[in-house]
Symmetry: D2
Subunit: 358 residues, 4 copies
C-alpha cells in the first residue's frame, strides 16, 4: 500500500527503453546531441509553440533555475503558502536567484486567487530600493494540496501578475496530472493563459530523473545556459535526460500514466469520504488526497504496512481544528498504484473504525 | 514640523566634537586604533559584561552581518511581519547570510509572543534537508510600530527560542528609546534576558552614521571580521565610528537624546488622541506614533509643511478597516524635535477638522 | 574515430542493467533507500575505510559541493592552472562556496608540486581579514593533461597542505584511469596519502551520470546534505545513482573499463610519437594525449571524420612555442575506443604527412 | 615618521568643516537630500560630463559594487596581479558580483599592457557556458605599486578591452595622486580614454570615509541603487558623504592634498635611491615607494619609530631576487606627511648603513 509519494516509484518501461536506446554509440556532449534536439522539438510539438527548453534532473533545480531567470536578487517571488519551493526545497530558490525572497500570499486558502494578489499589492510598499518588489508569481499545477487551476484561473492570475510587471512561473512537478484532470491542452494551460516558464516534471510520473524547464517567453531564457552550468546541472551525457522525455511523451504515454494516478486518487477519496470519522479535507482533483482521521486508524494502517505521510498542519483548510486524537495525512497515488492496494487501505481503515465494509 | 524619520536629523554636537577630536594625528587603520578599542570598552562598561563588538555605518549592514553569524544559508530567521529587516532592507539579509530566509510569525499582532513561536513550530516541518529550519529569532527593540518589549517579554521569547536551538538577534536601531522608555538597564534588556546579539544603533538618535554589533555570545562573533571585510564594511579610518559612540555614550548623553524624543512622542500622541476623528492606533511607548486620520487632514498638514510618511497597511492593528477617506500615517520624533512643532501640528490637525483648540 | 571526450560515450551494459534492476518496485525517496545504502557500503569496501559518501549526477556538482565543505567564502582554493574546476566549470565553485576564490599555483608545470605550494606561501599575504587565505588544495587525478600523481606525490602535497591548515580535495573525474595506470589501491592513492575528499567520477568511464563525493574525513561532511539539497542535487529517486555505482564497481568492472581506455591511449601515443612532425607533448599516463601537429594534418583528420578538440594554449608545456602552421590538440580514449580507430587515425596522420605506414 | 599608509591619516580641516555644516537641520534621508545632489553635480563639473554617481564609505564597497554592475556572476574580471581588489579586499568582489572570478593577467609586470590582454585572450577558452569569459577589465590608478597609467595607456587598454566586449573599471583609491602626477584633466584620464566606471577615493587623501562610484556609461548604473542598498551601503544620512566630497573638491583642494603627498614621495625616493645598499625598485610616480634595503636597516628604522609595511614578495619586479638579509618594504606618503619626517627617515637609514649624510 504505497501512498507515500509518487517519487518512490521506479521508471516506466517505455522511459527505460528509450534511455537504453539512447545509450548506444557516441554522441556530442553537454546537450549538443541529437537526442536533446529531438527532446526540445517534442516539447515544441506538445505545446504547439516555438518555445525554448532545457533538461535537468530534479524539480528543485528546475524551479530554482527558472526563478533565477525571472526575479532579480533584490526582488520577491509570490507563491502559495504550501508551495514546494517554499516548504520543501530548502533555500534553493535563494541560492539560485542570488537572494530573492519567497513571499506566500495565499493566507490559508487552497489556491492563489487574484484577490490574494490585490491584497498583497495593497499592503506591500513600492519604495525602492528599500522594499523588495515582487518580480514573479509562482503557481503549482497541480497544486501541493491536490487542486488544479483551470485555464481561466491561470489566465486571471497571469493577467493580474503581468499587469504589475511580474513574470509567471509554473511548477509543473505534477503538470501531467493537471492536464489529465482538466482534459485541456498543454498550451491552453500554459502560454495561452500567460505562463512565462513551466517546469515540466516527468520524474514523479514515470521518468527516472527528468524535468524540463520550458520557456514560452524565450527572452527570459537568455542566461539559462550559464545558470545551469554553474549550478552543476548541465549533464555531459545529455541524451539520457532527453531520451526520458521522448519515451514519456510519445503516444501520450505521459497522460496515460497520469490518468491512472488520478483515477486511483478519485477512487480512494470516494471510498474514504464514505467512512464516518474520516474527512477528505480538500477536493481531490489530481493525485493527492488530504485526509483527517483518528490517530488510532493511522496506527492501524501503518501497522499493516501502509505508507503515507503526516502532513504540515499549515495545509489544513482555514478554520479546521485538528483534535488531539486526529491525524492529518497525505496520500499520493502514482502511475503504478495497484487497485488492490486501494481496497486494502480502505478496508483496513473501516475495520479499524469498526465499520462494516461498504 | 519634521516627523518624517529620526534619520533625517543631523548629528548631536557632542558626537561631532568627539569625531573631530578623533581626526587629529595618525592612527592605525582598520579598527586597530585606540579609539576603536576605547569604543568597545565603553560598550563593555555600558552592558556590564565581556562582550565583543564591531562598528559599522548602517543598520542594514549591522543587522545583516549579525544575522549571517546566527543562521546558516539553509535556515530561516523568524521575525515580526513589520520588521525592518523584512520590509525595509531590500534583500540584504539574504545577501549576507548566503540565502537564509526571513519568515514573519507575528500574524498582525503588535509584538512577537511566545505563542507565535509555538504556532510556528506546530506548523513548520522539521524534515531536513528539505525544510528550512529556523536558526534565529529577530526582535526589534523598540519595535517598528513603536512598542517596547519588557525584559520579561524578551526573556520569555529568548527562552522559547533557545529551547528550540535558535539564536536571538535584537535590532536595536531605536534601542536607546526602549531603554529610556523602560528605565531598565541595558544589560537587563539584552544578555540578562537571553539576547545573543544586539545591533545597537546610534544613527537615528544623534550619531552621523554609527552602529555597533554587540555579541554577548562571543563565540558567535568568530567569523564576523571576515564577513564585515568582504562586505566592504571595515572602515580604514575606524576611529571615526568609535568616536561617535564615545561621544554618544559619555555621561548618558544617548539616554538624554532618546528621552527627549520619547517625551515629544508622548505629548504628541496625547494631544492627537484627544482629537475626535483622529485615532492613535498603537500604544505609544517610544518615539513612533501611528495615526489614522481623515485624508483631508493629512493634506492640510502637508500643505502647511508637515513631514511624515503614509505607512504600510499591513501595520494596522488586526481587524482595523481603513475607510476610503482615511489615511494611515507614521510620525516619528527625534532628539531635535521642537516643542513648538508638536503644538503647531496638533493645532493644524484640529483646525482642519473644525475642532477648537483644547 | 571518437577521440573527442570520454563523456561522449554511452553507458556500460552492466551499469545499465543494474539501473534497470533498481527501477523495479517502490523505494524510499531522497537517498533513504537500500540501493543508496548499498552504494555507500560498496565504497567503504573499495576504500577499506569508514568513509561518508553522497551521490550526484555531475562532476561539476561533485567538485563544487565538495569544495564548499572545505573552504570558507573568504578563503582561497589552490589548484592547477589547467584544473577543470578552474577552466571548465564556469564559476560553479564560486556559486557553491559562496564566493571562495580559485588560485592556480602550478606556473605552467604539468603537475602541482610541494615547491609550488612553498612559492605560493612565500608570496601570499596572511593579513586577515584583508587577504583571502588558502583553505583548500585541489588536485586532479588523473590530471587534466593526462598525468598521474603517485601515492608518494599525493602524500607530499597533502603533507604540505595540511601543514598549512589546508584541506585536500581530489577531483577524480578520471580516478579510475589513475588507479588502473598506477596499479595501486584506491586507499593508497587517497586517504592513506592524506586526501580529505575525493570526487569519484563514474560518468566518463562507463556510467550514465554518476559521481560520488567521498569524505574520508567524515567531519567535513557535516553540512553536505544541506548543500546538496539546496543546490537541487538531491535526486528523489536516489537508487538510480547508487545502482550505477553498484554496477560499475562490481567485480572490478570499473578498472577493466579504465584499463581499456589507458591501453588505447598508450598505443595511440606510441604510434603518433613515431611520426615525424607530430609531437606528443606530455607523457601519456592515463587516457589523454596532447599532440602538436601540422594544421594541415588536423584538417585532413577532421575531414576523414576524426573527432577531437583543439586545446588551450595555456596547456602547452612551459616554453613550448607553437608555430603558426601547427595546432595543439587533445585526444581522449575511452572504455569503448575501438582498436581499428586508433590505426585508422594514425594511418591518416601519416598519410597527410606523406609518410609511409610504419 | 608615518609611512604606513595614507589611510592612517585623519581628515582634512576643510572636509570636516563641510561635514559639520551639512549636519545642521533636517534633510531627506537615503541620498534624497540637497547635499547629495550637489555632490553629484560637483562630480559632473569636475569630469565635464553627464555622469551618474553614488557615494559609499569604503573603497572595497565602491570597487565591488562597481564590478557587480560590469560582470555577470559567470564571468571573469581581468586585473593586475597586485590589484587591491585581488589581494586586499578579501573575497568582496565575489560576494558582490555573485561569484564572478578575478583573473590576474600582468605576469609580474608593473602595469597591465595591451600585450597582457592579447596573451590572455590567446590562451583563454571561449567555450560557453564552460569557460568563464572575461566581462570586465580593472585598472588601478595610480597603481598598487605606485605607477600611473598615462591617458594614452588607458586609452589603449580600454580599446583592447572594449574590442573584446569587456567593460572597464578604474580603481581610483589614489586617483587624485595620479591626476596630480600627470597634470592632465580628470576627463582625459577616464571617460575620454574609455573608462566606464571610476571608483574615486577621497578617504586616502583627506576625507574621513568617502568614495564615489562614478558611472560614465550611465546605463551600467541601472541596478546600482539596488545593489548598494542590499549591501548595507546606502547611508540614511547621505549628506555626510556628499559633504566630504564637496569640501574635498572645492577650489582644487583635493589636488593640493595629493600634490603634497606626491612631492613628499618624490623627495623621499630621491634621497633613498642615493643611498648605497638601498634600492627603490619601481619608479615613483605617485605617493608610494617600494624599497629593498637590509633587514638591519629596517630594524633600526622601526626601532626609531618609523612606520611602514613589509610588502608582498610578489610585488617585486620580475627577476628581482631578494637576498636573505634584505627586506622589501612599502612607504606611503600622504597629505599630512611632514618634511621633517622624510629627512629623519633618510638620516636614520644612512646612519644604520654607516654612510655619511648627503
Amino acid at each position: 500500500m504505497q501512498f507515500g509519494s509518487d517519487n518512490q516509484t521506479g521508471a516506466s518501461r517505455r522511459v527505460l527503453d528509450m534511455m537504453e536506446k539512447a545509450s548506444s554509440g557516441h554522441a556530442r556532449g553537454y546537450g549538443a546531441d541529437e537526442w536533446t534536439q529531438a527532446g526540445v522539438e517534442a516539447l515544441r510539438t506538445l505545446f504547439a509553440c516555438d518555445l525554448e527548453a532545457f533538461f535537468v534532473t530534479t524539480g528543485t533545480a528546475a524551479n530554482s533555475l527558472a526563478l533565477s531567470c525571472l526575479a532579480q536578487p533584490w526582488q520577491a517571488v509570490l507563491c502559495h503558502h504550501q508551495a514546494h519551493i517554499f516548504l520543501d526545497e530548502s533555500t534553493a530558490p535563494e541560492l539560485f536567484t542570488g537572494g530573492a525572497r519567497l513571499v506566500p500570499v495565499s493566507r490559508g486558502d487552497g489556491k492563489i486567487t487574484a484577490r490574494h494578489l490585490e491584497e498583497y499589492f495593497r499592503c506591500a510598499g513600492d519604495d525602492v530600493p528599500h522594499n523588495a518588489l515582487a518580480g514573479a508569481l509562482s503557481l503549482t499545477q497541480s497544486s501541493e494540496i491536490g487542486l488544479v487551476y483551470t485555464p481561466g484561473e491561470v489566465a486571471d492570475l497571469c493577467g493580474a501578475a503581468h499587469g504589475r510587471g511580474l513574470k509567471v512561473h509554473m511548477d509543473g512537478a505534477r503538470f501531467a496530472n493537471a492536464v489529465a484532470s482538466l482534459g485541456c491542452s498543454p498550451a491552453d494551460l500554459t502560454w495561452k493563459a500567460g505562463v512565462d516558464v513551466l517546469c515540466l516534471g516527468a520524474t514523479k510520473c514515470g521518468a527516472l530523473a527528468a524535468e524540463a524547464v520550458v520557456f514560452f517567453d524565450r527572452e527570459l531564457a537568455a542566461t539559462f545556459a550559464h545558470r545551469r552550468k554553474r549550478a552543476g546541472h548541465l549533464l555531459s551525457k545529455g541524451r539520457f535526460l532527453a531520451s526520458q522525455f521522448l519515451g514519456w511523451l510519445r503516444d501520450d504515454h505521459w497522460l496515460e500514466l497520469a490518468s491512472h494516478a488520478n483515477r486511483c486518487a478519485s477512487e480512494l477519496a470516494l471510498e474514504l469520504s464514505a467512512i464516518p470519522g474520516v474527512d477528505v479535507v480538500w477536493p481531490v482533483q489530481a493525485s493527492e488526497i488530504f485526509v483527517v482521521m483518528p490517530k488510532a486508524t493511522v496506527s492501524a494502517l501503518r501497522q499493516a504496512g501502509a505508507e503515507f505521510s503526516e502532513w504540515y498542519a499549515s495545509a489544513l483548510p482555514p478554520g479546521f481544528e485538528l483534535r488531539d486524537d486526529q491525524a492529518f495525512i497525505r496520500l499520493v497515488t502514482s502511475f503504478v498504484t495497484e487497485e488492490d492496494h486501494i481496497w486494502q487501505f480502505v478496508s483496513l481503515a473501516r475495520e479499524s473504525l469498526g465499520i462494516a465494509a461498504a
